[in-house]
């Protein structure tokens, strides 16, 4: 049998073993809790052939493996975050044994406690703002009569596009200004590559918002209002999710 490591999903406060009953860890491993002071780490055994440095290097290049690991990690984090303050870890955070987990909890206790204090009672929402792509087919344009005409048209198209992007940036900032009035924190993420995200138009805004559970309804209402107020852009909000973007330690 291959050597086993301990895969760490999240660090929580006040989590009891029943909370994760019936949820399998990655590769079917049994979830267990490792406690240190007030903190509880959620771990499961993984095979180091698969999750050791060498294995990860090749496995992370395989989309099917990556997706399964990310989904499995998320399932465990979601279950924990539904009932206890939860600071999720990065994908593939692996220790050699439980004592290593405990040692790290002791070393980082203050930072982890601060992260848990920050996210307790809160959920994460994602809001993206994209330029609106016209539904209608563009009017057929007669073939350019000359090279100069062709270049003129190209330039015009370019200018139209950047004007559209500029307007979208302005709208996105207005949406953001409205939303931050009901959120605890926000974090800007890089716009996503359309090849990965499959969206149309230009993504001008990709922001994670930390919203208290009691303000979720207000937040959703505001998103609807803002979406109506700026029909020139597409506002795409999703959630609620575990507070992935807000539970990191200060030193990354």
């Amino acid at each position: 049998m291959a050597e086993q490591g301990r895969y760490l999903y999240a660090v929580c406060r006040g989590l009891t073993p029943e909370a994760v009953d019936g949820i399998a860890g990655l590769g079917g491993g049994r979830l267990s809790l490792v406690a240190e002071g007030d903190l509880v780490a959620l771990v499961s055994p993984v095979d180091l052939d698969e999750y050791g440095e060498e294995g990860l290097r090749s496995n992370l290049e395989r989309l099917d493996w990556l997706e399964e690991a990310a989904r499995g990690h998320d399932a465990v984090v979601q279950a924990a975050a539904a009932i206890a303050p939860t600071a999720p870890t990065r994908l593939a955070t692996i220790f050699l044994d439980d004592e290593g987990v405990r040692r790290r909890l002791r070393e980082r206790e203050d930072a982890i406690t601060a992260a848990l204090d920050r996210v307790e009672g809160h959920e994460e929402w994602s809001v993206k703002v994209l330029t609106r792509v016209p539904d209608a087919e563009p009017e057929p344009v007669p073939v350019a009569s000359s090279g100069a005409e062709y270049l003129r048209r190209k330039r015009q198209e370019q200018e139209d596009r950047s004007a559209g992007d500029r307007d979208a940036h302005v709208a996105a900032e207005k949406v953001h200004e409205a939303l931050v009035t009901v959120v605890a924190a926000s974090r800007r993420l890089p716009p996503q590559d359309p090849r990965l995200a499959g969206h149309q138009g230009t993504m001008v805004h990709n922001v994670a918002y930390l919203v208290h559970r009691d303000r979720s309804d207000d937040f959703v209402t505001l998103v609807h209002e803002q979406s109506d107020a700026y029909p020139e852009v597409v506002v795409d909000a999703r959630g609620p999710w575990p507070p992935y973007s807000f539970a990191m330690l200060d030193e990354a």
């Binding site: 999240a10 660090v11 180091l48 050791g52 990690h73 990065r90 090849r195 597409v234 999703r238 330690l249």
Partner: protein, 59 residues
């Protein structure tokens, strides 16, 4: 486009999940095992994703 602006769902799109799982989260390096930097992980995964997308679009 008439899709509602808010999708109340806990199912996270893979690209959103990877944005988060590879970029942020409590940073606790494992004992010895993980020496890959976070940045490397992101680049690795994005390469894998982009390659898959490209393969799909060539079919």
């Amino acid at each position: 486009m008439s899709a509602p602006p808010v999708e109340d769902t806990r199912a996270i799109a893979l690209v959103d999940l990877l944005d988060r799982l590879l970029g942020t989260g409590v940073v606790i390096a494992g004992d010895v095992v993980i020496s890959l930097a976070g940045v490397d992980l992101v680049e690795v995964s994005l390469r894998a994703l982009i390659r898959t997308v490209e393969e799909d679009s060539h079919e």
